[in-house]
Structure formats: C-alpha cells, structure tokens
C-alpha cells in the first residue's frame, strides 16, 4: 500500500518535472506573446493518444506489481519422514547407514570437503552433514566421525569443533516422502538469490543475456545481434529477449506469438526493471524458469531441477552440473539429459565454452568440467513417492487442521513419524512372506493380501504402514479401510475386564472349559474350541494363552456384555455397536487394522490411551513453526491388571498359540502377543508387542473368501520375519508396585497384592472420561 503511494508520488514528481522542463524550453526559444494560448487540433489528438497510452501502461503496471509482490507461486506441501538420529548405542548396520546416505543424495568420496559428502570404510564413516531447519532447532552442518561395532554405533564424534569432541546426537536431514501438489501440478523449491552459486548466474547471463546488468529490461543491441545472427544462419539460432523479457513472457503472458504480446512484453519488462532490482528479477527468473517435465508435473526453477536431475541441493552442484542446468533453459525437452544424453553433453560443453569466451571461468576450469560425466541420477528424484498408504493417513490427519487449498499452495513442511528403516523392513517381510511362503502353504491361499501397522509402544507414533504385497500402489488402503472380523483379538478385552476385578479373578483362577450352551435370539449357541475338544478347568492365563473359546464365552457371559463393551471403549475402540451379541465375545465385531492398533496401543503402553499420531509438526515455507502435535496420554487402566494381562499375553508366545513361531526368535526378547483367526479361516491376525514396538498384522483376501491360514500360520509368520530383521528392544515390563510374584507349581506368576487401585483406574480424576 505504502509502496504504491510512494510510487505514485514519484510518478507525479517526474511528471511535474517534465512540465517544468517544457516550460523552460518554451521560455528560452520563444519570446513571450500577448496571446497566451493558441489552439492546435493535433495537440488534442496528442493528449488523447497519450491518455490512452498512459492508462494502458498503468494497467500493465498494476498487473506487473500485483503478481510480483503477492505470493508469486503456489508451492506444494512437502512431507518428510522422521530423521535418522545417530547416537552411541543405536542398533544400525553400516550398510543401512550408507544406503540411507545415498538415498538422501550424499556423495561417497575419498575426501569429503563439503556438506552432502561422506567417506565410508567398513565400520567407519566420515560424514559432512547438511544444515537443516527442524521444528525444535536449526541443525548446522557438521563433520562427524561414526564408528560401528557389532552392528551398533560405538562412537559419534563431532570433528567440526577443532578438537575431536564426543557428540551425543547427530540428526541427518529427513527424507522427503511425499508432496501435495497445487492444482496444475506445478512444483518448485524456492531459492534465494544469496544461495545461488555464482557459476550458475554467470553461465545464465553468458548464455542468455550478457548485458543483463546494464540494460533497462529491453536490449536494442541484443535484438540487433540476434537479428544479424539469425539472418546469417538463415534460421532462428538466437533469441533477442533479455532475461527480463523471458521472465515476463513466462510469468505474465500466454505463449501466443503476436505483435501485441511482443509490445506488452517490452513494456512490462521496462516496468519490471523500473520497480525492482536486478537481484529480485534474477531471483524470480531462477525460480520461474521451466527446466523439465515428469509426467504431469512441470519442473520449475533451479532449486527443484537440482533435485530432479542430481538429487542434491543446488548449492552442492559443481560447475559442470550448473552448466547443464543452464543448457536446459533453451529447451528442457530438446536437451533432456535423461533422453538425449549426447545432445545434452554437447550443449553443456557449449555453455562452458561460452563462459570461457566471456572470461567467466578459465580454460582449465572448463576443461576439468567438460571431462565430468553428466552425473544425472537414474531415478527422477522427488517424483514418485513410495508410501501411498501412509500418505493417505497423513492427509486424513492434516485435513482436521488445514484446508485443502493451503495444503496445495502454501509450501507447508510436514514432519511425520514414518521411520523408513522400519517401513522398509515391514514391507519386505510382508512381500516375501506372502509371495514366497504363505501363498504356497495352502491350496486355498491364493490372492493373499495383507496389512501391517507398526507403532512405538509408549508414544503411539506410527512408524510404518504396509498395504498389501504391492506396497507402491495406491488403491484400496487396507490398514485404514479393511473392516474385518477380529476373532480372538477380542479376548484380551474380556480377560482385562476380569483381572480388573482382582478380588474375584487372578491369573490362576480356574475357568470351566466344559460343554456350554446358551440361548440366543437365533436359537441355541454351543461355542466350540478350535481343536473341537473341551479342556475341563483351566487356569485363567492359560485359557487366554491357548485361546480356548468355550471358557472365554462362559467368562464373558459371567462378566456381562455391557462391561466388556465398556472395556473396549476404554481401550480406545470408537466404533458403535448397535446391539450386543454373545458372538462378539469370539470376535464377530469388525474393525480396521488401524482400529485394532489403537485398541492394543492402550495395552502395550501399560494402560494408557495414546492417540495414534502420524504427524509430529508443521512448519511454514520459511521454516517458521506452525504447529506441533505433542505427546498426550490418558490413563485408562490401572497398571496392575494390565501387567497381569501382559503376563498372560507373554504366555501366548511361550506355551500358547504363538509358541511354535516364537521359538525361532532370539530368546532374550520378551514379547506379548495374540493370534486371531476367524470363521473358515477368512482372516489371519497377529498382534505382537514388546517394550519398543507394537505391530498389528492382518492377512486375508480382499473378497473375504476363506484362505486356510490361522493367525499363527499366517500373520504371525510375517511379524516374526519383521522382528528378526529389525531386532527391536523387547525387555520384560517393569513390575508395578502392588504386584508380587509367587511361585505356583514351579512357575512364577504375578498377583495383585495392593488393595489400593491406581489413581487412574477411573476412580478419581479420570472418572467420567469415557
């Protein structure tokens, strides 16, 4: 606003000055006459023409300024995985670290000199990290030495502070895992003029507009030179447009080639130069220029082009790479280095030659750069993103706080919880097990699909989400949308309800697994065990471990369906059940894998409901913090009955339905788990958790046909393979105060001895919360 006013004042000032000048000249040339004013018709014509010209120019002027000063571009939101944090004691293999570095575009060299380079030899790394702005801190570039021993990081040293200092924690920049594009699929990464390498600007000016710093937006000499060159060559070899004109053409005007457009272009170029500095114009040019195409997506600006062609930030590119970017200005598809490498190489070398001719670089520098290969990455970086299922969840959570328009245009930076190492291990486990093991196991087991969700046990961060065996394809999102019967996954809710009544039930309370029938509205129901046998009186924990149906139904009916539904609610299941049927005790209710995860999260975290989160925080395009999704927990169950339930779920792995598979896992890992199988083997479920990770796995067919696998012979196999590959921490839960261990028939079993139940068991400040 202020700027506009000043500008008008300036214009008015100039106009006044012009009139005064004219008057002075008049005074000088002609002596004053008595007759003050004599009318000439062409004066009027002149005034009218000037009026129309002036208003036309000022109209263009409004256009020029409005677009230049407002938000110049719609920027896609950028979605990041969680960063890899390197610290002593972290379980990581050297090969995984080098893979991670390569994916981030770090260059493996023998002597790293600048950010984005590293050296690797067996168990030792030297990395120069890139600076990155996170929500909580701006991490500077650091030179770090990392050593490994026994597939663990054994030391992290920061070499950037003169002496070799032990550094507790180094964070690599996060991997980009997705973008939310503007309506026209325009994509760019903004660069500021200060960050642009000098060679790039030199090359651009040498090739496109050598008088850039001296002209006023239009260069008559340039046009003449181009005309002569074209005339000599007999074809169009050189354009006469200045960079300013090119910018105007791309930024403001359509691509039609008419005289009117040419005139507009020239006027607007002059206006642009009048209002703005050369630096501002150049910066805008560098961000606007079209440099490639990836499917529907247009690659604009040098920042994105650096990523797209070299998978590196612009400031890390060398002379030969910068020359290549400049060579694309004239024809991004003509000189496309992926399609026409020879042509691109020749054009790049031409750029280098011109730079030498104009004294921008030495012949030796050019020689060195010409000897370099193109260095283009095979993969079009930042083009295809590998985790569509997880991205769908992120978008769902984003939509609660942001509207679609802002997501598509504001250039938000979204930091998620996804852990690429865990995600990749989970994907591999799912693909391998489904294709190579499970589909070959049973004749019915064809067209198997699956879903897997991995979260952190205590914090509820979603670390991985796998959708089916072709995880790269977006489509039916099973983890979020597949509503399936949960089978025996229901049972912990029943046993937890019992164990909360600690005066009546403990882990060795004998439960009757003898024949049982009950009257329902649809007739008499006789629940059966999977082995079609009855087992008499069985201790409570073993009923859960062996997943006996008959004793469970009897217990559930004793406790009451209402109470059990209430427990489900407290566990975090939000879905409404219209009517309660006894068959729900055996898991006839349907839930999605995500809902199952939320339910078991409460058990894995020791009785605390933890909302599942996929987003940690959001920054705006300039790195200013907008929002943080902080950790929030709510005690829903006392720690003691949860501890007992957890014990029973550990027995699932030791003597229950999970014993065969868990035998193949390292002994020191303590896991709790529950298998689930539904009628006629339509669904195979397994939930497993330790002190670090909670994993929910489902296997079945999309058409809900039987496929012959139980929870243990299907989903649990995938889980086992996954655990073997990531080897998470899994230590026994801490015995809460108020629980004592007693030896019963040679087996240590925990009992609740404290009469005082926890503050949070719904008795005090959490009453009435659910």
């Amino acid at each position: 606003m202020r700027r506009t006013k000043t500008f008008q004042n300036i214009r008015r000032g100039r106009a006044n000055y012009a009139t005064a000048g004219a008057r002075r000249r008049t005074l000088h040339r002609r002596p004053p006459r008595r007759r003050a004013f004599s009318f000439r018709w062409y004066w009027l014509l002149f005034i009218i023409i000037m009026f129309f010209c002036g208003s036309y120019v000022s109209e263009l002027d409004v256009q020029v300024r409005a677009k230049f000063e407002g938000q110049r571009w719609a920027l896609p939101a950028r979605v990041y995985a969680s960063p890899l944090e390197l610290y002593t004691g972290l379980r990581l293999t050297p090969s995984r670290l080098s893979k991670e570095l390569n994916e981030l575009g770090y260059q493996n060299t023998s002597a790293p000199k600048k950010a984005g380079e590293y050296w690797h030899n067996k168990n030792e790394f030297l990395i120069i990290t890139r600076a990155f702005k996170f929500w909580d801190a701006s991490d500077l570039s650091r030179t770090v030495q990392i050593r490994f021993a026994d597939n663990q990081i054994s030391s992290v040293r920061d070499l950037s502070h003169n002496g070799k200092r032990a550094s507790p924690l180094i964070r690599l920049e996060p991997k980009l895992i997705g973008k939310i594009y503007p309506a026209h699929n325009e994509d760019r990464i903004l660069v500021r003029s200060g960050e642009v390498p000098k060679h790039l600007i030199d090359a651009l000016i040498a090739m496109e507009d050598r008088n850039f710093y001296h002209h006023w937006g239009v260069s008559v000499m340039g046009m003449l030179r181009a005309f002569v060159a074209n005339f000599r060559a007999g074809k169009l070899v050189q354009g006469g447009s200045t960079l300013t004109q090119q910018l105007v053409k791309n930024f403001y005007l359509s691509s039609e080639r008419t005289l009117k457009r040419k005139i507009n272009e020239a006027i607007m170029a002059l206006l642009l130069e009048w209002h703005y500095s050369k630096d501002e114009i150049l910066e805008t040019y560098l961000n606007e220029v079209y440099l490639g195409q990836s499917g529907k997506r247009a690659i604009h600006g040098v920042g994105l082009a650096a990523r797209f062609y070299f998978n590196r930030p612009l400031n890390e590119l060398d002379l030969s790479q910068l020359a290549l970017l400049v060579s694309l200005v004239r024809g991004a598809s003509l000189y496309n280095p992926r399609k026409h490498p020879k042509r691109a190489l020749a054009r790049r070398n031409l750029v280098l030659d011109v730079m030498v001719k104009q004294g921008k670089i030495t012949a030796a520098e050019a020689q060195h750069a010409k000897a370099m290969p193109l260095g283009i990455t095979k993969k079009k970086s930042e083009s295809v993103f590998p985790y569509p299922a997880f991205m769908a969840l992120v978008r769902q959570q984003l939509h609660r706080d942001y509207n679609e328009e802002d997501l598509r245009s504001e250039g938000l930076q979204i930091f998620t919880t996804l852990n690429p190492l865990i995600q990749n291990a989970a994907e591999k486990a799912m693909e391998n097990a489904l294709k190579k093991k499970l589909e070959k196991k049973r004749p019915k087991a064809t067209n198997l699909e699956g879903a897997m969700i991995v979260t952190s046990s205590d914090q509820g961060e979603i670390l991985a989400m796998v959708n089916g065996k072709n995880t790269r394809y977006a489509g039916f999102n099973r983890p979020l949308e597949a509503k399936r019967q949960i089978g025996s996954l229901m049972k912990p809710a029943i046993f937890l309800t019992a164990l909360e009544q600690y005066q009546t039930y403990n882990l060795i309370t004998p439960l009757n697994d003898g024949p049982y029938k009950l009257k329902t509205k649809s007739g008499i129901w006789r629940p059966k065990n999977y082995d079609h046998r009855y087992h008499g009186y069985v201790p409570l924990y073993r009923v859960l471990a062996k997943s006996y149906n008959v004793a469970t139904v009897r217990l559930g009916m004793e406790l009451g369906l209402n109470k059990i539904t209430h427990t489900l609610r407290r566990l975090g299941v939000k879905r409404k059940f219209n009517r309660l049927y006894p068959s729900m005790l055996l898991g006839s209710i349907t839930l999605t894998p995500l809902e199952v995860t939320q339910m078991y999260q409460t058990i894995a975290s020791g009785g605390f409901r933890v909302p599942l989160r996929s987003i940690r925080n959001v920054l705006d395009r300039n790195g200013k913090p907008l929002q943080r999704y902080s950790l929030s927990i709510e005690e829903r169950f006392d720690a003691k009955p949860i501890f007992l339930l957890n014990y029973a779920l550990q027995q699932v792995m030791k003597e229950g339905t999970g014993r065969y598979v868990s035998r193949t896992l390292p002994k020191e890992l303590v896991f709790a788990g529950k298998t689930g199988t539904t009628n006629n083997y339509r669904d195979s479920w397994f939930v497993g958790f330790g002190s670090e990770l909670l994993t929910v796995t489902w296997v079945g067919r999309d058409d809900n046909k039987p496929m012959g696998l139980t929870g243990a012979s299907g989903a649990m196999i995938i889980w086992r393979d996954f655990i073997k590959s990531v080897h998470p921490n899994a230590t026994a839960p801490i015995t809460p105060s108020g629980v004592e261990w007693r030896n019963i028939d040679g087996k240590d079993i925990p009992f609740i001895v404290d009469e005082q139940m926890g503050m949070g068991s719904g008795s005090l400040f959490f009453a009435g919360m659910y």
């Binding site: 002593t88 004691g89 205590d458 927990i633 709510e634």
Partner: protein
C-alpha cells in the same frame, strides 16, 4: 491471587530442583565406574539438558507467546529423548513438570502416573515417585479436585515415610 502466586512459586521451586537433580543424577550414573558406561544415555542426557535450558528460558520469559514456545521446545526435546529411551521415568516426569507449569493439569497428572509406572519398585526411583505424587497433588488442586489431591498427597507422604524411616 495470593494463593495462585504461592502455588506458582511452589511449582517453580519443585520443577527447577527436579530438573537440576535429575540431570545431575544422570551425569553421576554415567560417570560412576561400577556401571558400564551406557553411552546411549549420553544422547538422552544432552536432550535433558536442552529441555532444562528451554524450560528455564520459559520461566524467565514474560511474553506469554514466547513463554509457551519455550515450554513446547522443552517438551519437544523430552519427547525426542523418549524416542531414544521410552522407559526412562525421569523423562516422563520432566514432561509432566512442563505440562504442570503450563497449567495443563490433566496431562501433567497422566504423565506423572506414567513416570511412576516405569519407576516400578526400583529403590533408585523412590524419590522420583514422591515427586510424581507431589506433582499429581498439585495437578489435582489445579483441577479443583480435592479428593484426588488428598489421596495423592497421602501417597507421597506414605512413600516419603517409607523412604526416610
């Protein structure tokens, strides 16, 4: 007004002491020689120091927006530490302390309860458990729930008696 002031001074006192003591404890634990140097805790330690600094900054800040930012910064560092060691009761306790200072009573009480859960019966954490119950007492008072406050205070006293007798 006076009462609120008194309470906030009490809160400040407890939290600063707690943060200082816990950071020192960790440093001591890492330095003591019977304990094999567990260097992974050095990352946690660094983050606890970051959190403590941000927290102190928040206490001194007068501008409410900046104050809140500093506390969130402290919380973010603590959550980062939890990703490295989710079972460290001290981290949960400090996170509870930050929320208490912000007046987020319910969340503070829940986090302190979680800290107690991970403390279990370990004698090393008796003192921390007393702190947690004191913190819950304040949170209950903040919510105006006197029954809960009384109960929490009793727990703190019982534990303290057991410890110092």
């Amino acid at each position: 007004m006076n009462q609120i002031n008194k309470k906030s001074i009490l809160i400040k006192f407890i939290l600063i002491i707690t943060l200082i003591v816990t950071v020192e404890n960790l440093a001591l634990a890492a330095a003591s020689d019977y304990f094999k140097e567990d260097s992974s805790s050095s990352a946690v330690k660094a983050l606890l120091i970051d959190a403590s600094n941000a927290y102190k900054r928040g206490m001194q800040e007068t501008d409410p927006v900046k104050k809140n930012q500093a506390f969130e910064q402290a919380a973010a560092s603590l959550e980062r530490a939890l990703r490295i060691n989710p079972r460290q009761p001290t981290i949960w306790h400090n996170l509870a302390g930050v929320r208490l200072t912000q007046g987020d009573w319910m969340r503070a009480a829940n986090l302190a309860t979680k800290s107690n859960m991970h403390a279990g019966n370990d004698p090393k954490y008796y003192e921390l458990r007393i702190r947690n119950w004191m913190l819950i007492t304040l949170a209950c008072e903040g919510m105006g729930d006197m029954t809960c406050a009384r109960e929490a205070r009793n727990r703190a006293q019982n534990l303290a008696q057991a410890l110092y007798q």
